[in-house]
Symmetry: D3
Subunit: 236 residues, 6 copies
């Protein structure tokens, strides 16, 4: 259930039951020629909707802008700054809490460390001051546990392509060939796209919608488990 399809009156009734609020944070980011720019948006939105259904949670309006580093110069990547990302997180969290939310899960589709850190700084600042339990993760934290060899598979690779093929069959397809990663050492460069010359990394040519379905279901189930473990009580 999407939070903003409710009226103010309905919302007040729903919040009185203290549901888990899921906030999917996506991105608009280049993922090669075989995946749409909304790749990092549709995955956490899919997961949030599915989890909400299973546990009776509600889904806050998704955000489709993130902070980007490695793909920032590629066509179609729209990046907001570290600080904007952090403050947006803080403001949305505080506003949800003002409205009665006491259990919030942020699911970030984009797993870049700078972006995740902006979210983490925001969550930490709120968690210190308000009476709330906040979980922060990327769905890719859980994908890592999926029992398949993911060595060398990364941004826009076999796993991600498979997942998006399952969620948005019209927008995604397997890639024509493998994408390589070029090591740039420890230099801070202003053209990081040279580390990812094809715009993606991994065996995206082996992606299938069936694999995507399996992974997506795995992530949804694992997240339900984590939520039960972290929030306890109602969900135990």
């Amino acid at each position: 259930m999407r939070l903003d399809s409710l009226s103010s009156v309905q919302f007040k009734e729903v919040m009185a039951k203290k549901p888990v609020v899921l906030l999917p944070i996506g991105a608009t980011e280049a993922h090669g020629g075989h995946l749409p720019l909304c790749t990092d948006s549709v995955q956490p939105e899919y997961v949030a909707d599915a989890v909400a259904k299973l546990i009776g949670g509600i889904v806050a309006p998704p955000i489709r802008y993130a902070h980007h580093s490695s793909t920032k110069n590629m066509p179609g990547t729209l990046s907001i700054s570290f600080l904007t990302t952090m403050h947006l997180t803080i403001d949305v969290l505080n506003s949800l809490i003002d409205n009665g939310a006491d259990k919030i899960v942020i699911i970030s589709g984009h797993a870049g460390s700078s972006h995740i850190n902006a979210l983490r700084q925001g969550c930490a600042e709120v968690a210190e001051k308000r009476a709330v339990k906040i979980m922060l993760l990327s769905d890719y934290d859980l994908v890592d546990e999926f029992p398949i060899d993911q060595t060398g598979d990364g941004h826009g690779g076999m796993v991600e392509t498979s997942r998006v093929m399952h969620i948005c069959p019209d927008l995604a397809r397997k890639a024509p060939c493998r994408g390589d990663y070029v090591d740039c050492g420890y230099l801070i460069v202003s053209d990081p796209e040279r580390c990812m010359p094809m715009g993606y990394v991994g065996n995206a040519q082996d992606a299938t919608s069936e694999l995507g379905k399996e992974i997506n279901e795995f992530v949804v189930n694992r997240l339900v488990e984590e939520i039960k473990k972290s929030f306890g009580g109602l969900y135990e």
Copy 2:
């Protein structure tokens, strides 16, 4: 066409034609018991999609969070700060311009003066530094010109209810009665909801989907005219 349904490769090709980029900025805001919290989101998204179709533009990922004053304490209003709103606007604009956009239209569903001002500050800062033409308006700037008596009709009133009934028939319905506005003079109050005791203002009991359709079409056509007037060239 939604910008983020394109791949990075397709996006680059589309941007080479220098299309108008439309950015709908919505809100999550209480609008009484007869309208959904996404009321201010679905209207500019509808307008942006329709205008894009008519002029060959593309629609950037919508934002569904805004800065709120008068309804900030009502259930379901999610508000981000003035500065976060301003910086988010600046970052998204700059990122679009970095990607080749030179004609951008921001359509804000929420027409509160603080929110519009946050957007305006952001647009002005970008317009001074970059080679870009930016239009900023609320669809309600154009609704004002619609030839019907709108005296005393405001937030969640007859006009807005009609428009949302047309766009989202499942989420909206006419209100049971009129909503009144209570004048609070020039005091800066921390409980501004007392000026709007029913959560909406105007003859929302007279709303109809048909009227909404007329107004929505009027707004779309007027915006196309304004775009042609402001951007000229290709659109003349």
Copy 3:
């Protein structure tokens, strides 16, 4: 009575009676060739002094700098940023409250929406945290109610010119001709002065000191009424 003509000892005695504190915020802004740059300063200072006399209030040191948009590039407009305006407002308000003020009226001579919004953001931030009643208005909010046709009369027009001719007869005179407004649509432009080619708008050639006197008295009386309505108690 000007607050800063008192000694520290006298000030403490005066504040013990909990007077209304009036803070006139003016501007240094181009108003054509017939009005001085202090046009937006002398009007609220006149109103504040007159109102203070009638209700036993005191007038805080005026500020003669504001945030400007439409006239920012005209000779003589001195503009401070949105944020500086906001923080200056916050700091002065907090300092007045620290000194015992519990009823404050900010009267802004400049009525531009960005400037008023900067003041409003500042007032709202203070009003949320401190035990104080704050009124914020431009004297032009009240001028609008004056029973005369003001259609098409604006910045430096008939009404404003008349008012300043009454207050500062040596610095102001009626204009040689009408000033026109050129509509720029919804574009955010960096040269907004093109919308006001003569630097003022309206029938400034019809201004008279007598009319100015009437309007100024009207504004003073209306503000006294608003203050009584908003602050009640002592003033009822």
Copy 4:
């Protein structure tokens, strides 16, 4: 000549001659029971007006708010923050330079080191980026050179009282007795007023308007010399 008594048209003509622009920055600050809160405002305003007359300069609208430390808790001291003071200085300087000013003198009536430092940070930031010569001083930098024993005379003491008696005979008078300074060592205290139990320091009981006149004339002449030395050219 006050800058804001000019019209936009007159101002443009005056600035074409590249006059020195003098910006008096005052304060609203407790100075015992014998001096008004505007003590630090009227002194630099007097000096600025007199110097402007002698060298053909113009005086920007004075500011009567400053950043205070030692008297911040005394009745009547209105303090704005270090950062607001710095940004206000930056904005006004930049706006003057945008209007053609290339020689600016800031005269601060308040000589507290934190306040002066806020002004200095602002001036330094502007001086690095713009083509302008900026002088920054307190009139008390020059008072120090006046040939009289000033040992132990400070805030609101003999010298300051005499100067204000000369400038504002109706608002100032000599004090009934000497004001003492109590050394607080190097502790950063939140009640610094304990170092100045009477609210002023020095032999304010010996102040005379005649002495004030001498000092004020001395300061005006010394500042004219400094301006000629620093700006050269036209003034040599």
Copy 5:
């Protein structure tokens, strides 16, 4: 060679040869009862000094404060904020570049992801604007490559204890027993020390100074290789 043991004159001569500048950033952080609070400081300082000697570089004054998350509530952890860490990095980098540095290596002893991200944001901002090559790494990025089983060994564990025993034999000793890590899932908690109940993680009871020496030499040699690879030219 420490940069600040040179005089201004000597420094200018040294910089003319364009040496690599190494900036060790340490921390003051709890590492159990067997390691000193300067544990994260002495390691990068050791590495920086040794590398500088091998390649003719110079070492900028070390910083011994960092941004901490997981140990922030443990006795002795001194933490500076994310933004302070970022701005400090930016300022020191810019100042080094203003002095002629064109090849800079930041070595962070603390490898927490928030801290590293603060450094990375700072480096990225500088790298975009200045003509400089910046390397950023934690010495633990290189330690990871050392051929020994490091599974489950972490903060204050066998590897770190060994390294500090070699560098500061007087301040460090092996721990009495193993330190465990307690998984806290994805919750953002305000008491993260509960994940590290003994204050360290790993087989710190097996640490030896000999092992530390081997690792330290390994890190120094690997960093020399990375520097040659990244900066080329002179070092190839």
Copy 6:
């Protein structure tokens, strides 16, 4: 005793006794050709260590970066901004207080007024909110009291050279000749080094290690006195 040579466990025990914490803040700054860039660092570190020994205090990790004005363009001066300096001070103070410190002495080697003011702003902000006593001084505040004629002796002069010759005999020596100061009036200049053409001011050719030893001992003893006077209790 240096704070960070303790383990977390030892630190907790030491802090339970509520010792004075001394924080030496140095600088990396040009001091002519006869003194090292660490001149302003080694002096307060020497003083802090000596005072700590005498009163049973502990010394927090020194900072060797400061905010510079007059020497900012000289080779080897590394300057951090006013705001970074202020925030670094705030963060370190708060972190010490979080760890139980209730008596803190900041000793700044660099005595420039902008730098001292940045520290003062930071201390004042902390002192208002936390239960702590903070002393802030430059060791040069005490040097001023040393009974020797210091007229015209300043940055890198006879006194400073003597002190560093005593502390770091290997890095410092007397200068070949006197250094002059050139008065620049009240202009805010971007090349302030022209006021100090030799990079130092005073009779640095007369410096001796013996004099330095006397002054250093004098400063240490005077600071012990000031600490006893300000903190009382335990130290009386």
